[in-house]
């Protein structure tokens, strides 16, 4: 005779709870160190690395800035940024998104210095990275003028969880059927409080406003004794 006791164990737990806690702890410790963490997300080719180059050039020595770059393969993005800022490449070898464990290892590999700004350049992907907290204070989604102005509603979780949307490659506007007003309206239907900033890393248009937005975010989040 087979006697077996079957019982239900109630759990009711967020499957990502441990990772979220880990991210929250890291975020708190970076806040205490005076570092604002910005997670840059977008499709491949929207201009994340170019934006970081333009940001570094704009600020020059005004702020200490470091970058963690995520890619499936190669160190090309890190090589572009190396002359400008401390940078570490995070290579996933196939994973379509960055996770907190890899970010921590990248942080440990950066020079031991309290940066005012840490940028995480995520894997080019508007889907999976939306679900992974990398200890950022702010998430910024890039959408370029060659991608189509109807994208925000197609990627609701990404736009819903982003604090700002940068419309990149604005120098191409005369040549593409892209409406800045339309993409902003679409994004606001998904996330009414998202900040929209048009930029062009090549010409420098909008970079000043982008950097000022970053400074405002840092001032709002980092305790005042960490401010210069």
């Amino acid at each position: 005779m087979n006697v077996s006791n079957s019982r239900t164990i109630a759990v009711d737990r967020d499957i990502q709870l441990d990772r979220k806690r880990e991210a929250a702890e890291l975020r708190n410790s970076l806040t205490a160190r005076g570092t604002l963490v910005v997670n840059l997300v977008s499709s491949p080719g929207s201009g994340k690395t170019s934006l970081l180059e333009a940001t570094a050039r704009h600020w020059k020595q005004k702020w200490r800035m470091a970058v963690l770059v995520g890619d499936i393969a190669t160190e090309r993005d890190a090589e572009r940024l190396e002359p400008l800022v401390p940078v570490k490449q995070l290579t996933t070898g196939g994973a379509c998104h960055l996770e907190i464990g890899l970010v921590k290892r990248g942080l440990d590999a950066l020079p031991r210095e309290d940066f005012e700004f840490l940028f995480i350049e995520n894997i080019g992907n508007l889907v999976c990275p939306a679900s992974h907290d990398l200890a950022e204070h702010r998430r910024v989604v890039l959408i370029s003028t060659t991608e189509g102005d109807d994208k925000p509603a197609k990627y609701p979780k990404m736009f819903r969880t982003s604090d700002a949307m940068l419309i990149t490659k604005t120098d191409l506007l005369p040549h593409v059927p892209f409406s800045t007003d339309a993409v902003i309206a679409d994004a606001k239907l998904v996330h009414d409080e998202i900040t929209a900033l048009p930029v062009c890393s090549l010409t420098g248009e909008g970079i000043d406003q982008w950097c000022r937005w970053l400074e405002q975010q840092r001032a709002a989040i980092i305790p005042s004794e960490s401010h210069r």
């Binding site: 087979n2 006791n5 079957s6 889907v127 609701p156 979780k157 819903r160 239907l189």
Partner: protein, 126 residues
């Protein structure tokens, strides 16, 4: 796809909970998935089918419950179902809304079987 990474973590959590609760065999894992969770139920199932057979919960069946995407209006207080990811109050059209359900990927419960041989031994020693 990131479902594989998340389901791997799910299986590890189930194994730990089952062991901590003295269960010997997990026969069912029940999860809740919302439309804004970032995971696709079909891909969760296929990741589970791929990973479970070589884990400690090889006999477990996965049960997936789905929630709706619901929100509450910050202006008029109306609760509504969000349609087509348009976050706009169905009553007053305000875009200022807070999600109340639909972004979950939760482990709800597991069903475990205790070792039948242990039960038989108890009976036969009386």
């Amino acid at each position: 796809m990131h479902e594989v990474s998340l389901v791997r973590s799910l299986i590890q959590q189930v194994e730990t909970i089952a062991t901590d609760n003295g269960g010997s065999k997990v026969t069912e894992v029940r999860v809740l998935i919302g439309p804004l969770s970032g995971v696709e139920p079909m891909l969760v199932r296929s990741a589970f089918d791929q990973l479970a057979p070589t884990s400690q919960i090889a006999d477990a069946k996965l049960r997936i419950d789905c929630t709706e995407l619901e929100a509450i209006c910050r202006d008029c207080g109306e609760s509504f179902i969000v349609k087509s990811y348009r976050f706009q109050c169905s009553g007053c059209q305000s875009p200022s809304v807070r999600i109340t359900s639909g972004d979950e990927f939760r482990l709800v419960s597991l069903v475990v079987e205790d070792d039948p041989k242990a039960c038989l031994n108890k009976v036969s020693t009386k």
